[in-house]
């Protein structure tokens, strides 16, 4: 029974012959409901903004700080930026971490204190930091929280068994006896991608050279260098066709982001960066999706985020993109999946200039692999660039695309659409 019929029946039971009056009341109620709804939609601004972002580390090693101190450092900066007291104002904390990289199981139990989150609403998302942003975004959208915090970090310099942890991620019966530390998965995917999209060694060397050089202008880069395409092509193979210089080396660091509802955001910062859309996806645990030439997870996550944000033609919508480049070929693969590359297979190669500038920050190739924090690093770089452009009143950078991938052997990723308007 629909509501209208229900009300009518109730009115008849209550008023009997005076139903005429009841009908009038109903019409009137429908009208006022609609009116209130429309005014409400105008007044109710349910957007979500990033109002503060802080970071620490961004170094190949951070021996003088524990991971908790790295988090405290980044969190303090994020809270200071938007004048938030975590002990009172924050209604949801989301941490993104993974037991084996931490060296402690049930590692979420060690998360609250250094974030100011003791005895408060905290949960761990065992995923990339950008998935944590999606969780916090939903907490705010649903009204569970009006201010939420997302944290993720890397202390890879403390992980003495890095290749064993990667090996542990492989399927134990079919894959572990064969695939060494998992790096062959990336190398095989790279070969198949190059084959299907007719991408050359030089195309990939260009990504390396571009990102390493871009990193020279970024204070946070640990591995930036003036590397030419020719130099990149001479780097030794780790697993042919994957060369050492095409892999993001490990780095330590922490990023903490503060998200807020539109109502709160405007009083917390003069420069809110709006999350216009967000999406996430996992392709499949199957081997063929781990080494597929198409990044289906990125394609599907983008579809979800673009739908929420109303992005119809990504190539013209975005001013720049921060895309996962943990391995150099992944930048090209992800750009294609996100619909921001002009990859014309029939032409046989990649164009020199992409329609949307990618990884002007230097990407992971310059900043390093920060495991679960990598998505938040891409987010940090996008937020800083959007804010700087606004400060300089430059019109070029108002809309950004941010994408993360969870690394080998996964086919999981997330996408966020950011804007300052």
């Amino acid at each position: 029974m629909n509501n209208k019929a229900g009300i009518e029946q109730y009115l008849y039971a209550s008023f009997g012959p005076e139903l005429k009056f009841g009908r009038w009341l109903m019409v009137s109620k429908a009208f006022t409901d609609k009116l209130v709804g429309n005014i409400g939609a105008l007044l109710l601004d349910d957007k979500v903004a990033i109002v503060g972002i802080g970071y620490s580390g961004f170094s190949p090693a951070t021996p003088s700080q524990s991971y908790k101190e790295l988090i405290f450092d980044a969190a303090s900066r994020a809270y200071a930026e938007c004048s938030v007291n975590p002990r009172k104002d924050v209604e949801s904390f989301v941490c993104c971490e993974e037991d084996l990289w931490e060296g402690t199981s049930i590692t979420d139990e060690y998360a609250p204190d250094q974030l100011g989150a003791a005895q408060r609403n905290i949960c761990t998302v065992s995923q990339d930091g950008l998935n944590g942003v999606a969780t916090a975004y939903m907490h705010i959208k649903s009204g569970v929280a009006s201010i939420a915090v997302v944290e993720s970090h890397s202390k890879l310099s403390n992980v003495l068994s890095q290749s064993q942890v990667r090996e542990f991620a492989l399927e134990p019966y079919y894959e572990r006896p064969i695939l060494s530390d998992g790096i062959p998965v990336a190398a095989m995917q790279m070969r198949r991608f190059m084959h299907d999209y007719k991408v050359t060694e030089e195309d990939i060397a260009q990504v390396v050279s571009k990102n390493k050089k871009n990193g020279l202008f970024n204070q946070r880069s640990s591995y930036a260098a003036d590397v030419s395409v020719e130099q990149a092509m001479r780097s030794p193979f780790v697993w042919n066709p994957l060369r050492r210089i095409q892999m993001a080396p490990p780095a330590d660091g922490c990023v903490v982001a503060v998200l807020a509802s539109a109502e709160k955001a405007r009083s917390m910062t003069e420069q809110p960066v709006w999350i216009k859309g967000i999406g996430w996806n996992s392709a499949s645990t199957s081997a063929e999706s781990a080494i597929s030439s198409d990044a289906l997870y990125a394609k599907e996550a983008a579809k979800m985020a673009y739908k929420i944000a109303g992005v119809n033609s990504p190539k013209s919508y975005f001013d720049f993109a921060e895309v996962d480049d943990t391995y150099a070929f992944k930048e090209l693969q992800h750009a294609e999946a996100l619909g921001i590359a002009d990859m014309d297979v029939s032409k046989g190669n990649m164009p020199a200039v992409a329609p949307v500038p990618i990884n002007m920050s230097g990407g992971s190739l310059s900043l390093g692999d920060l495991v679960e924090a990598t998505g938040l690093v891409r987010l940090l770089e996008a937020v800083q660039r959007l804010r700087n452009a606004e400060r300089k009143r430059s019109k070029g950078s108002k809309r950004a695309l941010v994408q993360s991938w969870r690394g080998i052997p996964s086919s999981s990723g997330a996408v966020a659409v950011l804007g300052v308007e």
């Binding site: 003088s64 003495l160 019966y173 695939l179 095989m188 995917q189 499949s284 063929e288 080494i291």
Partner: protein, 147 residues
């Protein structure tokens, strides 16, 4: 004088190092056991979905495509094709696909002539002697080019 770590050049940089041995058993399950028994008999088995007929390796009792129940098993063709490969020194690791079967099998590839190594090349499994097979993936010693 009261101890101040800031005046100590090295002590606070000294980490605590620890390690724990971890050991697990991994239950192969119904589909895994069937695959394992296939290996002992020198066969590579794929599962077959009872709803959409999709075959898949490694086998599973659920269909990845339609979530149907897969209770049938089929032997894959004698030769597969090279989906992709990676190499380090003499070691070549390959992803092999089989006609009409979704999924891939990873294994070592032994080739005498590297020039013949290319995506799409036909390959076949070489099993170890039946007497020493254990039902492990290494019952296949390696794959070789079938040209």
């Amino acid at each position: 004088m009261e101890y101040n770590p800031l005046f100590d050049g090295t002590y606070h940089l000294r980490p605590w190092v620890d390690s724990l041995p971890l050991e697990y058993k991994y239950s192969l399950g119904v589909a895994g056991k069937t695959f394992s028994e296939g290996l002992r008999r020198g066969k590579i088995l794929a599962s077959k979905c009872s709803r959409c007929n999709e075959s898949r390796i490694p086998p599973s009792i659920y269909c990845v495509g339609c979530f149907g129940y897969s209770d049938g098993y089929v032997q894959v063709s004698e030769t597969g094709t090279l989906y992709s490969f990676a190499s380090r020194g003499d070691l070549v690791v390959a992803a092999v696909e089989f006609k009409g079967v979704k999924g891939l099998l990873f294994h070592r590839l032994v080739v005498s002539d590297r020039n013949k190594l290319e995506i799409g090349a036909p390959v076949r499994p070489v099993f170890v002697q039946e007497a020493i097979r254990k039902g492990d993936i290494t019952d296949i010693d390696h794959f070789e080019l079938a040209v």
